[in-house]
């Protein structure tokens, strides 16, 4: 397979910041009256009892589901996603559209609270909480993981956002 090149390849290392690679990111969009059917299909695929509530994520053997929109779920997995009929919704591969910047747990809240108007303290933005929010004027998706916060940033903005975070991290002390 032709090797993938990261938009962050030229960035200098910065403590607490790294890139998390994912093989596949699929977007599932349901029509107004078909969300339940789509969510059930995806939950079954991932092996979880049910799809996540809004602004939540769940992870099963078949991958992770993120509820990023009232009618949308994102499936992050290593393999292919389930097919859904056109009467249920639409599937779109956006694996290359997002670059995941991982911010380590020890700096995630102090660093990101300098840019994001969401209460990111762990007891408020807990593991598997998801939020869509502007970061440096760019719409990103945040996902709290066990070891920090993942920023799913649009690929073209990823380096600019990462540079800003790295410069701010250096001043955090």
């Amino acid at each position: 397979m032709l090797e993938r090149s990261s938009p962050l390849a030229q960035c200098n290392p910065s403590p607490g910041l790294s890139q998390r690679s994912v093989t596949r990111l699929l977007q599932y969009h349901a029509w107004p009256d078909t969300y339940s059917a789509m969510a059930a299909t995806l939950a079954a695929h991932c092996g979880v009892p049910q799809a996540p509530a809004p602004s939540k994520a769940v992870t099963g053997l078949g991958g992770s589901l993120l509820r990023v929109h009232p009618q949308r779920l994102w499936l992050i997995s290593d393999g292919a996603g389930p097919a859904i009929g056109v009467e249920v919704g639409a599937t779109l591969d956006v694996s290359h559209a997002r670059t995941i910047i991982h911010v380590a747990d020890d700096i995630a809240t102090p660093l990101l609270s300098r840019f994001i108007a969401i209460d990111l303290r762990p007891h408020r933005f807990a593991i598997d909480d998801v939020a869509t929010t502007p970061l440096h004027r760019v719409s990103v998706v945040l996902w709290r993981r066990v070891d920090g916060i993942d920023i799913l940033a649009p690929r073209s903005f990823a380096r600019s956002i990462r540079d800003l975070l790295a410069e701010t991290t250096a001043r955090l002390g």
């Binding site: 397979m1 032709l2 090797e3 993938r4 090149s5 073209s156 800003l164 701010t168």
Partner: protein
């Protein structure tokens, strides 16, 4: 005599000396000092010059209410003007400069203004330079000189080298101020489990308690503070922010806090945006000056400030002090000063006070004079005597002193509450505005609520903390809010009758008692009018100390109770905030985010000169050796016309339109039909705004029965995406369509030129690119190496051309392969400049023509509009004005003399009529290496039909050039499309 450091006491570290300078003079202070306390301790009495009259000024207060001691801190790019010496924490090496004086503070030529003081009375500008009988030109003439003379301090013009940042925070309760009320509110709220932020402007907690000597709740004040500080520091649910001013309160519990960070903290200031469920304002109260002649002289200070300097900073403001008051609070100040060994006399304008206060004075050695008030202070650079008398001017005598204290009562600090639109309520008994009823969960506590005794302040803080806890569902011990007040003898209103000389009400703006009286006489006797007529209450001070005194003068003049006069509304910020703090990290190269294409690193590595276009960095041109942009783009155009060129088009907007109704959506937004487009085909489309004006253009590819791949211009990508989402959410929610921006999913390259097909065929598999298999506007899928790709036969340049897209992470690999192949075929890469020039040669409209004013017909695209279906803009585009034949319409332009050039933006007009807006304008120009002369596009009244073959002048008045141009069809190259279909 000037101020001096007392031998004992204070909260300063006598073992840690700090060096600083004032106007170049090297001085020494102690850790724990403010600049003001260190200046006073060093005997520096003259620290500033006043705004209008350049009168000598000294330190008047010990806090944020300071109106005189404004200095510039630092120098060069780090200079910060208008810093209050009273709030500036002393650090080693601090550099302070006086301002608004020339050539020196001691000898300021601006002081000559005092000779013309009678001219500079209220409404001076309005009367002198504006209004009936004044030429409109007079203000324009004088304005320059007035502006040069006005203003306090000078900001550096150099870029600020320091870092600033902003920070978002959330809490259950935000407490503003850490006096006894604030500390207790925080403690009780924290005990109840609330998430608490405590913001304190000072670098030390305690509010006014560190100035206090009397026990509070049975404990020495410092021990009382330390105990609570310890508790709060240990509580995980409390964040204590020192050096942090709450400067603004906004809707829904949002507060703006400005924090000054310690040196080496990584940033100089931090602006906090706090979202609090409840807010407790425990910001204390500010002492008011008294109004008498010479009340602005260096050495005239607020009584509470004199006490603060003595008790907290161990600084005596002078050695022979007279304190004047109309209330009880100055008694403890006088007693403390006397206790520190300072000769002290207390003048009380009241005829009697409680026996306890009189006894306190006697015990402390304070000479108490009842029924006396200061009428006029003498001295130039410092007080040397004061003339005192009764309120009616009797009993006059002159008393020698070097410092004059004053206490005209206290004003609760409720500016933040005022920002929320809460009107304060005047209380005659306390002579103070008390907080009005807030409809938001905001509570004033302590002195901010008009409570004067420290123990009552602590009680009110506990009540406020408990109230917050209960409101948020926690339990807390019940505590009653104490009533405002706390003095034994009622305050007495100040009398203005016997005052002599120039008496100032607003020291920062040099507004005097006579100015206010004059303004009232002239009809400007409402607070808002008075403010604008006299400037009272403007600038950094915002009338903190002047407002109530001014209202008292207005009330006196109008013969009405003060409570009926009204107030002005305080607006954010309460205290000055650095612009740097408001900008935060979003400055310089981080002012806006930067977008990079998937090919970015490859392009830069190849030597591309990049250009910022919107947020994107795009390759402008690819210089060889010392080529200029003109050399390079012409060469790159030749590569395309003669061999093959490749261009990064990843920045084009790309939108996936999916669903059973995808075709229906496109039919509604494009002027032409898309539902009928076959799978595997692309079509050029134009979309209009609701008003019938062209919004954007691009191609949409049908890549499946229920899926289209829409492309937009780079500039309008976000706008079109938002437009589609808006339509689906608000107008057509019934459509089963998903629109998703996939601009970042795909990397794209345009491959144009005679050898484009051969080049692509050598790199791609699984796709037949022959004319028969992939005709013009055909779309196919193939593979680049083992990666799926999309290919469309589309041309922007007029050549045989393709756009090829691969997943973004493989974009760089595609680019390198294309570049190698193109170079081997005598071609190469071309940038934005050549891209634009190629499309002008071909006569395609682009950004300069799609300027938000043009219709389809204006651009020569009218025939594209379907008559079989409605679409957005289809009704309003038929408005008579948009159908006029004499509207500016697209034309081609060539110079009449083929060797001449002309510029974009030139006005098109007939010879001899080169003025005004002309007949049209030139939108785009380029040199055409294929044709050997310049060509251009323009929008011309009546268009080609009216002007084809005729000559006009392309007038460029800004550059002083005119060129004769001939009007031709806008298709300069291959109008039949033979190259396109090759």
């Amino acid at each position: 005599m000037s101020g001096f450091r007392l031998k004992a006491g204070g909260l300063v570290d006598r073992g840690k000396a700090l060096r600083f300078s004032f106007d170049g003079k090297s001085l020494q202070g102690l850790a724990g000092d403010t600049l003001a306390s260190a200046l006073l301790a060093s005997g520096e009495r003259l620290v500033a010059r006043s705004f209008k009259y350049h009168r000598p000024r000294g330190v008047m207060s010990a806090g944020l209410e300071e109106a005189s001691a404004l200095v510039t801190i630092g120098s060069g790019a780090r200079a910060t003007p208008n810093t209050l010496a009273t709030t500036e924490e002393l650090v080693d090496g601090l550099e302070a400069h006086s301002q608004h004086r020339w050539p020196s503070l001691q000898f300021d030529l601006g002081a000559v203004n005092q000779l013309f003081a009678r001219l500079f009375s209220a409404g001076f500008y309005y009367k002198t330079f504006m209004g009936p009988g004044k030429s409109p030109r007079s203000w324009l003439f004088y304005e320059h000189f007035i502006r040069r003379a006005a203003g306090l301090g000078t900001a550096s013009r150099a870029p600020d080298p320091d870092h600033y940042e902003s920070c978002e925070a959330f809490c259950d309760v935000l407490i503003v101020g850490s006096g006894p009320a604030g500390l207790e509110a925080a403690r009780v709220a924290a005990d109840a489990g609330l998430d608490v932020i405590l913001a304190e402007r000072d670098f030390r907690l305690g509010g006014a308690l560190p100035h206090e000597t009397h026990p509070i709740e049975g404990e020495p004040p410092r021990a009382w503070i330390e105990q609570r500080e310890k508790l709060l520091s240990a509580a995980p649910n409390v964040r204590v922010l020192r050096r942090t001013s709450a400067v603004g309160l906004y809707d829904h519990g949002v507060a703006g806090l400005a924090e000054r960070l310690a040196p080496h903290a990584g940033a100089r200031e931090r602006f906090w945006i706090v979202r609090a469920k409840r807010i407790v304002i425990a910001a204390g109260a500010m002492e008011r000056p008294l109004i008498f002649g010479g009340n602005d002289r260096p050495g005239v200070m607020l009584a509470g400030a004199m006490r603060a300097y003595a008790n907290r900073w161990a600084v005596a403001a002078g050695s022979s002090v007279v304190i004047a008051t109309n209330n009880d609070s100055a008694y403890v100040a006088a007693c403390d000063l006397a206790g520190a060994g300072v000769s002290t006399m207390l003048l009380d304008c009241r005829d009697e006070v409680s026996g306890e206060l009189a006894n306190d004075c006697k015990t402390a050695g304070v000479e108490l004079r009842l029924s006396r008030m200061p009428l006029h202070a003498f001295g130039r650079f410092g007080v040397r005597a004061v003339e005192i008398g009764t309120a009616d001017g009797g009993g006059i005598e002159t008393i020698r002193c070097d410092t004059l204290g004053m206490s005209g009562g206290w004003s609760p600090t409720q500016h933040l509450l005022s920002q929320r639109g809460v009107k304060p309520v005047w209380n005659d008994t306390l002579a103070a505005f008390l907080p009005g009823e807030a409809r938001e969960p905001i509570r004033c506590a302590g002195a901010a609520a008009g409570i004067w005794r420290a123990e009552d302040c602590a009680r009110s803080g506990r009540a406020a903390g408990a109230e917050a806890a209960r409101a948020l569902g926690s339990s807390a011990p019940a505590e009653e809010f104490p009533a405002p007040g706390g003095w034994e003898t009622p305050i007495r209103a100040w009398s203005f009758g016997a005052i002599k000389g120039k008496a100032f009400i607003d020291l920062q703006n040099d507004v005097t008692l006579s100015d206010v009286r004059q303004a009232c006489t002239e009809g400007y006797d409402a607070p808002e009018l008075l403010k604008r007529y006299t400037t009272l209450g403007m600038a950094t001070d915002q009338g903190r100390t002047a407002a109530v005194n001014a209202l008292a003068v207005i009330a006196d003049g109008r013969g009405k109770p003060l409570g009926e006069i009204g107030t002005t509304t305080f607006r954010p910020p309460f205290a000055p905030v650095s612009i740097g703090a408001l900008a935060g990290v979003e400055r310089d190269h981080h002012l806006l985010p930067t977008r990079r294409s998937p090919m970015h690193d490859a392009l830069v590595g190849q030597g591309a000169r990049m250009l910022e276009t919107g947020l994107w960095l795009r390759p402008w041109f690819y210089p060889l050796g010392s080529e200029t942009v003109d050399d390079a783009y012409l060469r790159e155009m030749r590569l395309v016309r003669e061999a093959v060129g490749i261009c990064d088009v990843s920045t084009l907007g790309k939108i996936a339109v999916q669903g059973p109704d995808a075709g229906e959506l496109l039919d509604r937004v494009y002027v032409n039909a898309f539902k009928s487009l076959g799978v595997g085909k692309a079509r050029y489309g134009v979309m209009l705004r609701d008003d019938g004006i062209v919004m954007d253009d691009g191609t949409s590819w049908r890549i499946g029965e229920h899926e289209y791949f829409m492309t937009t211009t780079t500039a309008n990508a976000g706008k079109v995406m938002a437009w589609l989402e808006d339509l689906l959410e608000t107008r057509w929610p019934e459509l089963r369509v998903a629109v998703t921006s996939v601009t970042d999913q795909w990397a794209g390259a345009s491959v144009a030129g005679l050898q484009a097909r051969a080049l692509l065929q050598s790199l791609l598999t699984g796709v037949d690119l022959t004319n028969e298999a992939l005709p013009f506007m055909g779309v196919r899928e193939g593979r680049f190496e083992d990666v799926p790709c999309r290919i469309a036969r589309i041309s922007f340049s007029g050549e045989l051309a393709y756009e090829v897209y691969v997943p973004a992470d493989q974009g760089a690999a595609l680019w390198r392969a294309l570049l190698d192949g193109a170079t081997a075929r005598g071609g190469g890469s071309y940038g934005l400049e050549a891209l634009g020039a190629l499309r002008v040669e071909k006569g395609h409209v682009g950004g300069p023509e799609l300027d938000g004013r043009a219709t389809l017909e204006d651009l020569g695209l009218g025939r594209m509009a379907s008559t079989r279906k409605p679409f957005i803009g289809s009704a309003l585009r038929m408005r008579p004005d948009l159908q006029r034949k004499d509207r500016p319409q697209i034309v081609g332009l060539v110079p009449a003399m083929r060797g001449e050039t002309f510029k974009g933006g030139s006005i098109l007009c007939e010879a001899g009529e080169e003025s005004g807006h002309g007949l049209g304008w030139v939108t785009s120009v380029t040199e055409s290496p294929s044709l050997g002369h310049w060509v251009g596009l323009g929008l011309l009244r009546g268009g080609l039909q009216a002007w084809e073959g005729r000559e006009l002048i392309a007038s460029d008045p800004i550059r002083g050039r005119s060129t004769r141009v001939r009007i031709v069809a806008p298709h300069f190259l291959d109008p039949e499309g033979a190259r396109l279909h090759a």
